[in-house]
Symmetry: C2
Subunit: 314 residues, 2 copies
Amino acid sequence: MDRAIVVAAAQMGPIARSATRKDVVLRLLAALRQAHARGAELVVFPELTLTTFFPRWHLTDPAEIDAFFETEMPGPETLPLFEEARRLGVGFYLGYAELAAEEGRTRRFNTSILVDRAGRVVGKYRKVHLPGYDAPQAGRSSQHLEKYYFEPGNLGFPVWRSMGAVMGMCICNDRRWAETYRVMALQGAEMILLGYNTPDDHTGNFDSDSLTGFHHQLSVQAGAYQNSTWVVATAKAGNEEGSRMIGQSMIVAPSGQIVAMATTTDDEVITARCDLDMAALYRRTIFDFARHREPDNYRLIVERKGPVAPPQEP
Amino acid sequence: MDRAIVVAAAQMGPIARSATRKDVVLRLLAALRQAHARGAELVVFPELTLTTFFPRWHLTDPAEIDAFFETEMPGPETLPLFEEARRLGVGFYLGYAELAAEEGRTRRFNTSILVDRAGRVVGKYRKVHLPGYDAPQAGRSSQHLEKYYFEPGNLGFPVWRSMGAVMGMCICNDRRWAETYRVMALQGAEMILLGYNTPDDHTGNFDSDSLTGFHHQLSVQAGAYQNSTWVVATAKAGNEEGSRMIGQSMIVAPSGQIVAMATTTDDEVITARCDLDMAALYRRTIFDFARHREPDNYRLIVERKGPVAPPQEP
């Protein structure tokens, strides 16, 4: 039985602050149709796809903030994407800012959904690893305020059996944390879908910031290889409101090899045929978890959040 | 205060089955002196440095097996290495097969020790992630029988404050498992020392085996970057008794960058000056564990050894 799936990463170029949802959805529809024409059965859109990456600003007006969030999915403006995807028989991953009424209060999450080929929302993930700060930092041209706008995801790292594969999702900074992939791999994840917005001024130190693309590739390739899983990673990219965000959307095989990569920082569709059975070789040899993992030695990973170094030498 | 340390990876070319401990120690002494002459204060030797990589054979004669193991460290044949290192004021990491009398029985481990500049053994590590099999596999030209010869290490992943740094150790296959680095980073590890023997026929599938060097580099670079630590990785390399083992010994910075790399598969010393404070930038930004890790979401990593996939779709 053939267990291959043709996947597309639909990278988006910059989205201006003035862009409407309708403007953005038109671009998503164009990418969706291009991906379908190239045989894709599943399209991965970026993190916070529907607006500019607003965590770069410190906004305080509640109405202004709320305008970046979705209260329903699909809503009237995003429904055309769902309808067209259903019509074409294409599943998709979409990242957006979610405003939820839960536990008697308003909650805000950096969220992605998995939509199957029949247009049904089959999975929701809320970003666990929020980078940056919860208050503005002096001296930065762009802020990084995800901890101000969002609370950490409360859904863990679930997986779903959909479109013939065990699918997992994560978002942006999650990809730098080895735990992200491992928790999904321990649930049998065969393909991890990932959207991101990655500016090239994370630390403010050029020695490090100039490695932004390398660090992106390194983390995703290692996550794929060490967990015998496909990863489809899609950027929102380019110069967006003065912030420069890397592209380098890519599809990575369970071997860690990059099998497709975007070469622009604009709207660009890349595709690959992903053989889900390619992982089997790794899973029965080097990464046969059931034979080789030694969880008794891993306890600090859950028992400790920050590092505790041994005492200084006397 | 300067917190740099000059480190050497002392790669060893093949060691024949007929080589004596004395033969090997002479090669180690030559490498030690070369490293010292190039300013090194710490030298990392390979895994199972003192003999050929015997787990490639299925030996059954106890005396023949025991001949590959050390019952004391230093012993009469290794003492000259300790004495010369002390004389030069150079610390070292040495991997060897350890035969221990513990819990009223004979136990065998794949072990490394950390020796400080005064020649004192300050740390011992026993390999946790044993690859391969506990019985011979049909159809392989080289076996991979670490699970037959050794039991998994029973010392966890400790770290030691020595030579001005928080040092950790691991061995070979440990480097492919993200948990290895993370457990040491959660104890403040600033430098991880690693010896390996990596044949290029791990899986028997050329698609994968031809990526052996890439997988080595990917795993070590990701481990260094994602844990803001230096890694010094040293091979036993070359065509050893018909088995081809990769070289690519390397020193990797907390940025994930390779700052020194061996270009042969023979005896070769590489060095780098490692600024331990380079990690500080990463630890207070992207990898500030205390702010960014979310251990409640990681529980499966310790609760589950092998993967459990969701049920099949109906």
